[in-house]
């Protein structure tokens, strides 16, 4: 019993989950609309894109890396999928295109970070610009509209499964799968080891370069496929799609307890973090905070959430020869 309590207390995602509960309760009390099915759908649908990307981003952040190129990749992919579909290509072809883009970006990022050992922040900042530039060149002033969106994608964006938006289910399933893999497979555990102590990982015989490469590749692939999620969510895409998304994604991860310093955090936390941020944004409107103050309040709450997480997580003290203090 005692160990169970201890274990629950040690759960890294607890603080952010509590914060989420608090936000939901406060907002719901002030504005009952928030508690309705449509309130629930607003939050879950709104979070689908960021949650999907946050799951992928977790893979790289636990390795003490970062991938800033996801916003450009997902936007470009959304555009390519819509564009291909409007030219009469089938659904799978379009998805293949998105995946190919993601894999390409992932390969470039992964190769440079893993095999050339270049800092990921610089590399992915570079690819952020490059992909965005190519995207702009391809898209120009064109806009993808609903009639260009492949049918299945359109369907996913518009419909719910017993009240739960399909898009959220996609993100949720992804989270469950990746969550399981990261806890239960050796190669994914290596990512934590790499992020926790790179030198030790190398000494310990972990194939660091291969793992880093594959993680970036996976993140790229998810970002590429997530273009469909973005497209489904907004039913439109243009040259600025996905702009600036990378910071929201990183923020979601950090709020969810996936430490920038590497080695800790789970995809569950990242998704809860994304939901929390989305809930806060929605809550500000629901609480009637004046428009011009919302961003400021949002920033403050973001800082508060990080502080709370930090406060609660450092209460779990390390143990020593003499047992826990």
């Amino acid at each position: 019993m005692k160990t169970l309590v201890k274990k629950v207390f040690r759960v890294r995602e607890l603080p952010v989950f509590l914060a989420l509960v608090i936000v939901v309760i406060i907002t719901g009390t002030a504005n009952p609309e928030f508690f309705t099915l449509s309130g629930f759908q607003d939050v879950t649908l709104g979070v689908a894109v960021v949650a999907t990307l946050a799951v992928a981003q977790t893979l790289v952040i636990v390795m003490k890396h970062i991938d800033l190129s996801v916003g450009s990749t997902i936007g470009f992919s959304a555009y390519l999928i819509g564009d291909a579909s409007s030219q009469g290509h089938g659904f799978w072809y379009c998805m293949g295109l998105g995946l190919a883009l993601g894999l390409t970006v992932g390969t470039v990022n992964g190769f440079m970070v893993a095999y050339l050992r270049l800092p990921s922040l610089v590399v992915t900042l570079g690819t952020l610009y490059i992909v965005r530039g190519l995207f702009n060149e391809v898209a120009g002033g064109n806009t993808i509209t609903e009639d260009m969106v492949p049918g299945p994608i359109n369907f996913m964006g518009l419909n719910t499964f017993f009240g739960i938006p399909y898009l959220f289910l996609v993100a949720f399933l992804l989270m469950l799968v990746v969550g399981f893999v990261m806890r239960r497979t050796r190669s994914a555990r290596d990512l934590y080891a790499i992020g926790s102590n790179l030198l030790a990982a190398e000494l310990g015989g972990i194939p660091v370069a291969r793992r880093v490469f594959l993680a970036f590749l996976a993140t790229g692939a998810v970002s590429g496929l997530a273009g469909a999620v973005l497209l489904a969510r907004f039913n439109t895409a243009a040259a600025n799609s996905g702009n600036g998304l990378e910071l929201s994604v990183v923020a979601a991860c950090v709020v969810g307890g996936v430490a920038i310093a590497g080695g800790v955090g789970t995809v569950y936390g990242a998704v809860i973090g994304a939901i929390l941020l989305q809930a806060i944004t929605m809550a500000l409107g629901a609480l009637g905070i004046p428009q011009f103050w919302q961003l400021a309040v949002n920033g403050t709450l973001l800082i508060a959430a990080i502080s709370l997480d930090r406060y609660l997580s450092t209460r779990v003290k390390p143990t020593s020869i003499m047992g826990a203090k």
């Binding site: 922040l121 400021a296 973001l302």
Partner: protein, 323 residues
């Protein structure tokens, strides 16, 4: 016991700057003109000023993503105060003070509360930007005093340098000397290499970091004033996205994102190079999209090139250096 000569990326960037200017002058007749040089300097001034401080911060192992928001908040404060009847001079002082306070807040959250700076400054990025809107709403301030505004777009009489070159030159000189030749500079590097050892070496780590964040805030404030004058207005959405440009410039200048490595000269050369190359490409009719691609490519080159040099040199010495 002689210091071995090693080729650093900062020299690479300097070479790149010279090449850009020379080649640029050849391929575009419009590039090496007095007006254009003045414009390029003006165009990079704000980023350069912030980059000076950001160099310290990144070398010390921290980062500040909120600089563009601080710039804008300073500008908004200046506009707000001026619109509400204070003199423009007082408004500027007020704006700089706000910049300093923003930096102190970042520093406080990082050093006292102990939050990671990347995360904190994503938060304050939103907070400070939000305060811009809270201050100005949807009404930008224009009609600033003419005698001040001319400083924003005219050259120093008799030269081809814009007025903003003065604060830039002075601040750059100070920043350069302090970083590479004084105790504060050494401490900055030491903290970046190993903060714990720094603490054990009697370096006031927390105070230094707080100071560096405050300085970054203040510099962003200075940039905010320059920005206000250059665009003769204050609006809540100023300088959106500049933070990435600043960081890109600092990294391109050879500062290691992991801290502990970098030179100020490299960063200055990088800022100027980026401005120059953008100008050249624009003048030979590259599209804005191509400019984005080039910025990205340059960033990649800035990390690939030193690596390539390192590998080449170690091949030549036929020695495999672990790590």
């Amino acid at each position: 016991m002689k210091k071995k000569y090693t080729f650093g990326w900062d020299q690479g960037v300097s070479v790149f700057l010279v090449l850009t200017v020379v080649v640029g002058g050849f391929i575009s007749e419009y590039f090496a003109t007095i007006d254009n040089i003045s414009f390029v300097i003006q165009d990079v001034a704000e980023i350069a000023i912030i980059a000076l401080a950001m160099t310290y911060l990144i070398i010390a192992g921290e980062i500040d993503l909120s600089v563009a928001s601080i710039l804008s908040l300073t500008s908004a404060t200046v506009g707000f105060l001026f619109r509400n009847g204070t003199s423009f001079e007082v408004a500027i002082v007020g704006g700089l003070l706000v910049g300093l306070l923003c930096g102190l807040l970042n520093g406080y959250l990082v050093t006292v509360i102990g939050l990671p700076s990347l995360a904190v400054t994503i938060g304050t990025l939103a907070l400070f930007r939000g305060l811009c809107y809270a201050l100005l709403g949807n009404e930008p301030v224009n009609e600033l005093p003419e005698n001040w505004i001319v400083l924003g777009y005219e050259n120093i009489p008799g030269t081809f340098l814009p007025w903003s070159a003065i604060p830039l030159a002075i601040l750059a000189a100070i920043a350069w000397i302090v970083l590479h030749y004084t105790r504060i500079g050494r401490w900055t590097f030491a903290i970046g290499i190993n903060p714990e050892a720094a603490k054990f070496s009697g370096i006031p780590v927390a105070r230094m970091k707080l100071g560096l964040f405050a300085m970054t805030g203040l510099m962003s404030g200075v940039a905010g004033v320059v920005y206000t004058l250059r665009f003769a207005s204050a609006s809540p959405d100023g300088a959106v996205g500049y933070e990435l440009s600043v960081i890109a410039a600092v990294l391109f200048g050879g500062v290691a994102i992991a801290g502990g490595i970098g030179t100020l000269w490299g960063v200055l050369a990088a800022v100027l190079s980026l401005g120059a190359i953008r100008s050249v490409l624009q003048l030979i009719d590259f599209s804005a999209n191509a400019l984005l691609v080039v910025s990205g490519a340059l960033l990649l080159i800035s990390v690939v090139a030193p690596k390539a040099i390192e590998i080449y040199q170690s091949r030549r010495n036929s020695a495999f250096v672990t790590k």
